[in-house]
């Protein structure tokens, strides 16, 4: 009896030690490795520069019609994609990887790691708001980066064809071993909208310019609905966005003699909602190479302050852009209130509300002209007003990705569609309306690894 008792106790002891298995094996093997495990860790991840240092806008910037470069500068370009994208070549990356593609997916990885850990952390009651803000921020970034990729690598949204049009893979998990399938344009849009709607419930109305807010989310949603030609919702979101952030800057107060006119401290710029610095941009738009197209410069009226504030003459004689919100660099890809005004104006007009559109447009332009010289536009012709709104989008939102998006969006509208033409060494290169070359190819490595189909370029 005694031995039976003893052996029972020993067996119990042996196997009870398994009761603490989970805790025993959950210790970190290397103390310096930090596995994201606290709200603080995730908060710090969301502060990382990846989220605002480089937005994926290079390809669109390299192909748009706001600038040109001289022949000899094109032929000496070493950046393959910049050279190819400039002339709308069939092959863009050759064997190289795509910086736009890669960086966007790196940001998506960060967002996914945050999202995978945010639910496992039990936040204290005083941290609930921070936890919501982080989760909302990560959702916003995931959507925003998918949005940047969709603009470059997928056909424009189209109600009829989008459920089948091949689009980028959607990454909603950080598991590296998960091999992705392609999405379609409509599923990509659904995914982004879904993330952004969840983000709206979690984010604060306004935030620092380094972290997403409701204002930024409404702006992104408004952009998305513009592409989807759902002007009701585009109006709805731009209108809500303006409820949170609407301030505009009177640019007449800026010093037109400075090399760089906007506040160096971005937080002092009243129009910035969310800062994306953008990369240095394709080599073609480097200040030593770019030439602003005369077609664009001619659109500015003589009393338009932007003509002097946004441009200057480089020492090599080129007219170059200096109106970026980024103190050192051309490219800036963030969100600002002027775009909200322009989207609300456009969607009002498309919904038939000419006076509403004109109110918004005139309000914006009031801050862009020499004091006391601006004559408000009044017109009853919707086409005339729409033309002007689209022109103002081009004149106002330079080198921040929107030009490429607008050009691509206008392919669907015979009134505004435009063939793009480049001329190098006497040879003309053409990107005609509705050409498959409006969609950039997937990087070669991805196609080879996954056997994906994509739009065949010409």
């Amino acid at each position: 009896m005694r031995t039976l008792f003893l052996s029972t106790i020993i067996i119990l002891l042996l196997f009870l030690s398994g009761g603490c298995t989970k805790e025993f094996l959950n210790v970190k093997p290397d103390k310096r490795l930090s596995i994201p495990s606290t709200i603080d860790d995730l908060d710090a991840m969301l502060n990382n520069r990846v989220f605002f240092a480089q937005a994926s806008l290079d390809l669109g910037a390299a192909s748009n019609d706001d600038f040109y470069i001289r022949d000899e500068q094109w032929s000496t370009l070493t950046s393959k994609y910049a050279k190819n994208a400039y002339v709308f070549a069939r092959d863009i990356f050759e064997d190289e990887q795509s910086n736009d593609w890669n960086r966007a997916y790196e940001r998506i990885l960060y967002a996914n790691v945050i999202l995978a850990h945010i639910d496992t952390i039990k936040a204290g009651t005083n941290q609930q708001r921070l936890q919501d803000e982080i989760q909302g921020g990560a959702l916003f970034h995931r959507a925003s980066n998918h949005y940047q990729l969709v603009q470059l690598f997928c056909p424009e949204y189209d109600l009829l064809s989008s459920s089948e049009a091949p689009c980028i893979p959607i990454r909603d998990d950080f598991d590296l071993t998960k091999s992705l399938t392609q999405s379609t344009v409509s599923s990509a849009y659904d995914f982004m909208i879904n993330d952004l709607k969840r983000a709206l419930d979690l984010l604060p109305d306004v935030n620092t310019i380094y972290r997403p807010s409701k204002a930024a989310t409404h702006l992104l949603l408004a952009r998305i609905y513009l592409h989807m030609e759902d002007y009701d919702l585009a109006f709805y979101h731009s209108d809500l966005g303006l409820k949170y952030r609407s301030e505009l800057m009177d640019i007449s107060i800026l010093d037109s003699t400075a090399d760089y006119v906007f506040p160096v401290n971005l937080e002092l710029h009243p129009e910035i909602i969310l800062n994306f610095e953008g990369s240095a941009g394709p080599a073609t738009i480097a200040p030593t190479r770019q030439n602003i197209s005369m077609e664009l410069l001619d659109l500015y009226e003589t009393n338009d302050l932007r003509k002097t504030m946004f441009f200057r003459t480089h020492s090599n004689g080129n007219i170059i852009f200096r109106g970026s919100y980024r103190p050192r660099g051309v490219h800036w890809g963030g969100f600002s209130t002027n775009e909200l005004w322009l989207i609300r104006a456009e969607s009002s007009l498309r919904l038939g509300n000419i006076s509403g559109a004109l109110n918004d447009l005139n309000y914006l332009l009031y801050f862009r002209y020499q004091s006391g010289t601006y004559v408000p536009i009044s017109s009853n012709d919707p086409m005339q007003v729409l033309t002007r709104i689209l022109q103002e989008r081009r004149k106002e939102l330079l080198f921040r990705g929107t030009r490429w998006e607008d050009l691509k969006r206008m392919n669907k509208d015979a009134n505004f569609a435009k063939d793009l033409i480049r001329e190098v060494d006497g040879q003309q290169y053409l990107l005609p309306i509705n050409s498959p070359n409006w969609v950039f190819p997937f990087p070669k490595l991805e196609v080879e690894l996954h056997n994906w189909s994509q739009v065949t370029r010409e």
């Binding site: 603080d40 997916y105 790691v113 071993t177």
Partner: protein, 1092 residues
């Protein structure tokens, strides 16, 4: 040497206190508690007394052992049956109801049981005939035959299937057990000491204190060790005392002497005269004039400086000629042997005391080693102490307490050849260094900067900047220390018949660090002070002693094991063994920052660590730098393992045996998903003792015949891959806390698994004169880590924040198969005894699944810098480019570009198609083994062993055509220079290309691309080596009796006797020392054994 005295005093103290404890134990042993005393003696049929017979009471379990005269005495608590057992004899059982003073027992030899050796798997012991696995046992006697101070050195060549990839290897990385079961992970076997995994320096285990080593090679044997057994397990058992054993004292003294190294072995050199000719040629060609002006600060070789002085008329022609001929007669190697090297000498003093009564047994050993190492000024000392105690307070309870301590201290003040390397950009190790001048004063040796530059600086008021190696040796003190402490407690309790519960706990702690003290006058201090002397002459670093302590590395482990073991009696013919248990292990490794004290005063132990580390100071001759400091990072690693294991075996009539095991292993290394944290590993095995069948009874040729088969799955661990996403925290320029993702983690991480098949046959016949075993095995590494290409859409991107190096996932497969053969033959005639052991192993591996990105450049394939596994090939494969001979016109390698003969070597190399690379062979020998001979006649014995390795290849080094004329970058001289093509017709007798006489020649450096990686330098590496020789003499028995000694032996052992035969083309090369400066020199050991 005051340290040595201090330690000896400490040892004395410790020793005396241990003796005190022991004497208490001995006293307790004398106390009898039985009511019944049975005395008697045990003899053979011939009437000779039998020592070492175990006498056990079958009910009381009391044990006694017969002494040298065959006498025994046993105290029984009650009337009992006594079992008399001795290996190689039939057991005798005798009932002892009364006190008896003269019980006479005769044991008859048992031919069938003579080799009944017990194996110790680390978890349990069973007789080898009851196991189904592939196991080798190395006994104490075998270990004594090689006096190496490292445990691995002693097992080299003893066991088939254990391959030393590095000859005379001393670390577990240097050996492979049965080929490979992994591609990128650790392929070293698991080493177990006294039941627990051992991850410390193997020198801290005393090879003289080892009882036995068991090597577990297949799944049936090794799967008990689970996830870490995939590469084989080496189980070392140190305790060597038993209950009722009587007191034994053994002494052993080993004296080792190693010969001088052979510096002329390495062919990557040229003689002084040739080097001077080349330097002169370069000088005349104006090569040195082309060098940029700033390099005047950097040293040119002495001869070039001399030539320059002459051309500047700063030296008379007479002096020049005298100096030149002086240089010409110098030989750096001779100088080094004369002034820097000594014959290493080491002495071990080993003592072991053990003994045991009925209730208590003890063992104590200690060893002190003192050694003079190869370089003058290098010393080492090691102390090993072990104390083991076993108590049996009640017949059913056994308690064990063990403690061991090892402390190694070494002094490294020696100056070697590498310290004579100038370390300059244009000159490396000069062949004409002279260490002493004519007056016997230490000479200046060129170092770091040109003498002219240094002298100019000294004239400006800087400290003496010259380097005098022979003086410097006494101006510094480098000490390193390594300490291991281990304590173990065991408790075993017999619950009821056959069922035993046991628990063990082990604590281990290790620490190592090293300290360097540089005196004010040392080159280290003067050089540092000068470099940091500011333009205004201010010394940023004080001209005073510097004390430097490197990072301290400390390890600590806790191991716990609880186990239940059930074993039925054998009488019924059925025998069941059943074992369940759990293992818990925690291993921590810490690295604590060291320190650096400037302005150090050793007399008062003062100094400072507070320097201006934040400012960059201009340094001489160029640049600027921070003051050197000791990095202050601290790292802590912690590994945790948790396992449940079970083992089962059933034997019927001792003929048919079935065994199985199952084990679950968990670790903190793995798994975001908890269900992937662990892995279940299992094995089954069976064995058939054919010789016990009735049909074998008539067969007198065969004494033993056993067929074994096993299959099972063991595991392997890779610590470099992380399952978790990990981040780094920092503060950005905005002052905001940010986190950067460093690894994205891999939630699908799994353990590597190794499935092992084994089929073996053990035989013994001709009255046991011929015995051996043959095993065929097949190892499949599955779910192995392999490199992969991640799609950029994972976010793992080149230049991203997350490491793309960590791109390994579980998918690859490798398979190894091989044969291990072991035969032992014995010839005895009168007093003459001759044993021949023949070991042969064949092993090969092939990668079955691997699909990493193809690397397009052939460089990584040919230079072997990167492991590039290719499906269908061996992991050890070596690639080469074709060789077409030398061009008869100019002696340059013939190459073909697009079918046309060409001399564009660079283009040829850069565009060489991967598919045209030649798979030249494997680097690791697929066939290897040993032949050992032990001859003895009366008290004299002689032994020698021969190692052979066959079937592999090496890539020889050679000249880089024309590079001897290169003055930028270190020279790469090679003796093949003398075999180079010089005139048409030479291409028939040599493959060494012609060289150029001028470094600017385009061909000069390019020739290598057609030669260096070609088949011309691939050579078969087959060789047979005379590994060791031993001679020993025992004192005759009659003398021993008179002196009351159990054993006295004098033993001479010589190791590294050199190569007997090697494949053609290797010339002076020893393939085991391909890139070494010299092969291990001959080592002589004289040992004296005295056992009381």
């Amino acid at each position: 040497m005051s340290w040595g005295k201090e330690v000896m005093m400490k040892i004395n103290k410790l020793f005396s206190s241990v003796l005190l404890i022991l004497s208490v134990c001995l006293l307790s042993m004398e106390l009898s508690y039985g009511q019944l005393v049975v005395k008697g003696s045990v003899h053979t049929e011939q009437g000779e007394p039998l020592a070492g017979v175990t006498i056990q009471g079958l009910h009381s379990l009391v044990v006694a052992i017969s002494d040298e005269a065959g006498h025994f005495s046993i105290n029984l608590p009650q009337a009992d049956s006594l079992r008399f057992h001795h290996m190689g004899y039939h057991d005798v059982i005798r009932y002892a109801p009364n006190e008896e003073s003269n019980l006479l027992i005769i044991l008859r030899p048992d031919d069938t049981n003579i080799q009944e050796v017990e194996i110790n798997t680390g978890y349990y012991r069973i007789p080898i005939s009851q196991s189904t696995g592939s196991i080798n046992i190395i006994t104490k006697e075998d270990l004594e035959k090689n006096p190496s101070d490292n445990i691995l050195g002693r097992i080299q060549g003893l066991v088939p299937g254990v391959q030393f990839t590095k000859l005379n290897g001393t670390e577990s990385e240097d050996i492979r057990v049965r080929g490979l079961g992994t591609i990128h992970s650790n392929s070293t076997p698991l080493i177990v000491v006294d039941g627990f995994p051992y991850e410390e320096d193997l020198y801290s285990i005393d090879p003289d204190a080892i009882e036995s080593i068991t090597i577990l090679k297949d799944a049936a044997a090794a799967s008990i060790w689970g996830a870490r057994a995939g590469n084989g397990v080496i189980v070392i058992t140190t305790k060597n005392h038993r209950f009722s054993q009587g007191n034994q004292v053994s002494f052993r003294i080993n004296h080792r002497l190693t010969e001088h190294p052979d510096f002329y072995y390495d062919q990557r050199r040229l003689p002084t005269a040739t080097v001077m000719d080349i330097e002169k040629q370069n000088y005349l060609n104006g090569v040195y004039d082309h060098l940029p002006h700033h390099i005047q600060k950097y040293p040119m070789s002495d001869y070039v400086e001399l030539l320059r002085l002459r051309s500047q008329d700063k030296i008379s022609e007479q002096d020049f000629i005298a100096k030149e001929s002086q240089l010409r007669s110098n030989d750096t190697f001779q100088e080094a042997l004369k002034h820097l090297y000594q014959k290493p000498m080491a002495t071990d003093y080993f003592m072991n005391i053990s003994g045991g009564g009925a209730k208590n047994s003890y063992g104590f050993y200690s060893k002190y080693t003192h050694a003079k190492e190869q370089e003058i000024g290098d010393l080492s000392q090691r102390i090993l102490i072990g104390i083991n105690n076993k108590f049996r307070p009640l017949p059913s309870i056994q308690i064990g307490l063990d403690f061991s301590f090892s402390n190694a201290r070494s002094t490294q003040n020696g100056i070697g050849l590498d310290d004579l390397n100038v370390g300059g950009q244009y000159v490396g190790l000069s062949p004409y260094v002279q260490l002493l001048d004519e007056n016997g004063n230490a000479n200046i040796v060129l170092r770091d900067f040109a003498s002219s530059y240094k002298e100019g600086q000294m004239a400006d008021g800087l400290l003496d900047w010259h380097y005098r190696p022979l003086e410097d040796r006494n101006l510094r003190d480098n000490q390193s220390n390594n300490q291991v402490i281990k304590a173990q407690a065991n408790l075993a309790y017999d619950l009821f018949k056959g069922l035993k519960a046991s628990g063990s706990y082990q604590f281990l702690q290790s620490a190592s660090h090293s300290t360097s003290h540089y005196q004010k006058e040392s080159y280290f201090v003067r050089d540092l002070v000068n470099r940091y002397t500011q333009p205004d002459g201010r010394q940023v670093i004080p001209h005073a002693d510097i004390l430097h302590r490197t990072n301290e590395i400390s390890g600590m482990s806790h191991d716990f094991r609880g186990q239940l073991h059930y074993q039925t009696d054998i009488r019924t013919g059925h025998r069941v063994n059943f074992l369940v248990g759990t293992d818990v292990r925690q291993y921590m490794k810490r690295m604590n920052p060291g320190f650096r004290i400037y302005n150090y005063d050793p007399q008062h132990e003062t100094g400072t660590t507070r320097m201006d580390y934040l400012e960059r100071f201009p340094t001489r001759p160029t640049n600027s730098a921070y003051i050197p400091y000791q990095p202050d990072t601290r790292t802590v690693f912690e590994d945790r393992f948790l396992s449940y294991y079970s083992n089962f075996s059933y034997s019927l009539l001792e003929k048919y045996i079935l065994s199985g095991s199952y084990r679950w292993d968990g670790s903190n290394l793995f798994g975001v998903k908890t269900n992937q944290k662990g892995v279940g590993l299992w094995s089954v095995g069976t064995s058939w003792n054919i010789h016990k069948e009735s049909f074998m009874e008539e067969n007198h040729l065969m004494n033993d015949l056993r067929l074994r088969g096993s299959f099972g799955v063991t595991g392997n661990v890779n610590k470099n891959v992380s399952a978790y996403p990990t981040i780094d925290r920092s503060t950005d320029s905005r002052g905001i806390q940010i986190a950067t993702l460093r690894t994205a983690g891999n939630p699908s991480l799994r353990w590597e698994k190794v499935a092992i098949w084994n089929l073996g046959l053990d035989f013994s016949g001709l009255h046991r004169r011929l015995s051996g075993s043959i095993d065929y095995y097949h190892k499949d590494g599955m779910d192995l880590f392999g490199e992969t290409v991640y799609a950029p859409n994972t976010g793992l991107i080149p230049g991203g924040t997350t490491s793309v190096n960590n791109n390994q996932i579980n998918y690859a497969d490798i398979t190894s198969k091989g044969i291990d053969l072991q035969v032992k033959a014995n010839i005895t005639r009168n007093a003459f005894d001759w044993d021949v052991h023949f070991n042969f192993s064949w092993v090969t591996n092939r990668i079955k699944k691997y699909n990493a990105p193809e690397i397009k450049s052939i460089t990584q394939y040919v230079n072997g810098s990167l492991l590039i596994p290719i499906k269908g090939r061996s992991r050890d494969v070596m690639y080469a480019m074709p060789w077409n001979g030398l061009n008869p016109e100019d002696g340059r390698p013939i190459i073909y570009l697009d079918g046309e003969q060409s001399e564009d070597y660079r283009l040829y190399y850069n565009t060489f198609p991967l598919e045209s690379l030649i798979n030249a062979g494997v680097k690791v020998a697929p066939y290897y083994g040993t032949i050992r001979n032990d001859l003895s006649y009366k008290g004299l014995s002689l032994r020698f062993s021969i190692l052979y390795k066959l079937g592999h290849i090496i890539r020889k080094n050679s000249i880089n055509p024309g590079i001897e004329h290169i003055v930028t970058g270190q020279q790469n001289y090679h003796m093949d220079y003398f075999h180079r093509w010089e005139k048409p017709g030479d291409e028939l007798i040599t493959n060494v290309p012609s060289t150029t006489t001028h470094y600017i020649s385009e061909y000069g450096t390019m020739g290598w691309y057609g030669y260096g990686y070609s088949m011309a330098l691939i050579n078969r590496a087959d060789h047979i080596r005379f590994h060791e020789f031993g001679l020993s003499a025992e004192l005759p028995e009659s003398w021993r009796r008179q002196l009351n000694l159990r054993r006295t032996r004098l033993d001479l052992h010589i190791q590294n006797l050199g190569i007997i035969w090697k494949a053609k083309g290797m010339k002076t090369i020893d393939p085991d020392y391909l890139n070494s400066r010299y092969p291990d020199p001959k080592k002589w050991t004289l040992s004296l054994f005295v056992d009381f």
